[in-house]
């Protein structure tokens, strides 16, 4: 076992909580990977845009996916459970995954959000996302007429 595999990194969230992770899992996040490769690592690595609750979740995901002993279907099962969270958390996770440039997590999250939005009607989208309808009546009619197949 070479020492580089054992290397740990300390990640510090925006609210000053510190998390210890294996370097091999952390480099799934390209932002962290770039920092490590450019040797700009100062222990601990400050992540100003991610708070501790979200960072904990990201680390959980990261470590699960770094484990080479798990099969793909097991990872998928984990993903399915992982995304059973309130929508706000998912959105915050997306922001974090974007900041950390964690492609896998990003894909899983976007797919979940998209899946949730499947089969929603226009009114449901507005209600669930709390979106104000700023269409005038004519504009809305025009928009609906443009996308007739969506309402079949």
């Amino acid at each position: 076992m070479s020492s580089s595999e054992e290397r740990k990194l300390i990640l510090k969230s925006s609210d000053n909580e510190e998390f210890v992770v294996k370097e091999s899992s952390a480099v799934q996040c390209l932002t962290i990977k770039n920092l490590v490769e450019d040797r700009c690592v100062s222990d601990p690595i400050p992540l100003a845009n991610v708070d501790s609750k979200i960072l904990a979740l990201v680390i959980e995901f990261m470590e699960k996916h770094a484990e080479t002993t798990l099969s793909n279907s097991e990872k998928k099962e984990f993903d399915v459970e992982f995304v059973k969270k309130p929508f706000d958390d998912l959105l915050e996770l997306i922001l974090a995954a974007n900041y950390l440039d964690f492609r896998e997590l990003m894909d899983v999250l976007c797919n979940t959000c998209a899946k949730q939005m499947e089969n929603w009607s226009v009114e449901e989208v507005r209600e669930k996302f709390n979106i104000q309808n700023d269409y005038t009546v004519e504009e809305e009619k025009a928009a609906r007429a443009e996308n007739p197949w969506a309402f079949e």
């Binding site: 399915v80 989208v125 609906r144």
Partner: protein
Amino acid sequence: MAFECQQTVPRIEEVDNPQVILINNIKKFTFESENPKSISKLNAKTALSVNESLLNNSWPITDLPPALISEILNCLDPKELGILSCVNTYFYRLASEHHVWKEFYCERWGHPITPDNFGPGNSDEKSWKELFVEREFHSKTFMGRFSIDTLYGHTEAIRAVFVLASKKIVFTSGYDQIVRMWDMEEGLSIASSRPLGCTIRSLAADTRLLVAGGTDGFIHGWKAEDGNAHLFDLCVPQNQNMEFRVWEHDGPITCLALDFGKIYSGSWDMTICIWDRSTLKCLKVLVHNDWVWSLVPNDTLLMSTAGSDVHLWDITSGTTLAVINRAHVGNTYSLTCSHTGKLLFTGGEDGSIHMFGIARNAKCNVRKIATWIPHTGSVYSLAFEFPWLVSASSDGKISLIDVRKLLKKTSRHSPIQNSFEGDHMDQKHVEPPQRMLHGFGRNLFSVCIGCDRIVCGGEEGIVRIWNFSQALEIEQRVRTLRGIRLENRMRRRKIQISSKGSQSEQCLVAARNNQTNGDRNGWHYKHKCKT
């Protein structure tokens, strides 16, 4: 300043002071310091929707930076994008400009053929979304009214039909050994070649090359001439430069295909040869275990049927990626695939058609999505243009199947879903075809789809072109006529009612007395009054 941040973000329900919510939300939004626009939008939104957020506890999705919303939109189907664009002007902008529409379009139909819209960036600019919407709407045309063109010329059964959509030319050939070219729009013969020496069982063409293969195992080809409006000159006596003949196979060639640099030929000698187009040399030989009936190349993947098995090959390495054993009971005669190569359709001797989904990951995963049994005889030929799958069979019928509904069930979002779960459900779900075209008495050997038309040829030696290009216009006309008729009827009724009212006193009294007797009596009275 209003930036007195608290260490933890309290849940909104606990806080009854709206002021505090504002502060906490601003703290959250230090993420988007690069995106000042969204912060101001946020301020406006929280001011407006404070009450709602007290109730809903939801974090407006619109406050994500547009790039991230785009990421989510990337995973949606056109239908959902359509719905999203009706939600809000902001979403409308996002959803419409979205480059995903280009992806949707190209995924289904490849790049648009017509020269006058090269996509956005042209002066005649149509956004990809508009193109997609048009095309999607246009695909309904195959459910509408058609007209049939019958092309006579062949003296014996036709074994091969090929449509070159970009030039609107149909090539046909068969037992009479002659390759004929027809103009698809006019329904007239353009040219015919001399007899090639043996039954021609397969044809393939693109704008540079036409190839024919037959029972004697050779490939006879014509190169396109630059000045010729019809591309190929079939009549001219053997011209060394423009025609060629190459030999390689030991048995009849049953299938041919062309792609950018290669020619593929499959034969009953159980092999497929991959040729280089420019040198006309055979580069690779793919060996099967049975007669090769059909092949279709897609990018780096080559799909072929041999006996009752379906093989998937990697073209560059020449290795087998996957095999579907006994795809059909009896021979698997026909094969076609979608534009992206993600969907594979096979038709067999048992009269059934299967649809498979191909996942190109580390190993090639193939799973059956659906089955149809529209025919009572062998399915000799298949053709696909999103979303229509056309099959021609020995029972003399052509079936049209719309695969869109099935695609909804097997969603694109398979990373999370266990992709094998959906299988068992779908396999049992056998839907009948949307449409069947009749009119042939005997075997149909080959069918092609293109330019709103379906072209088919078979044992009778006649080429039939079903022309659907007017279907949408006719539909529109029928609808307006119906509307006019309805209007007229309503107008007549109004006149009737008003004329009843303006009748003379006598009729009025009589009518009043007979009010309960309904229309019929009223009519009698009206008639009486008039005379």
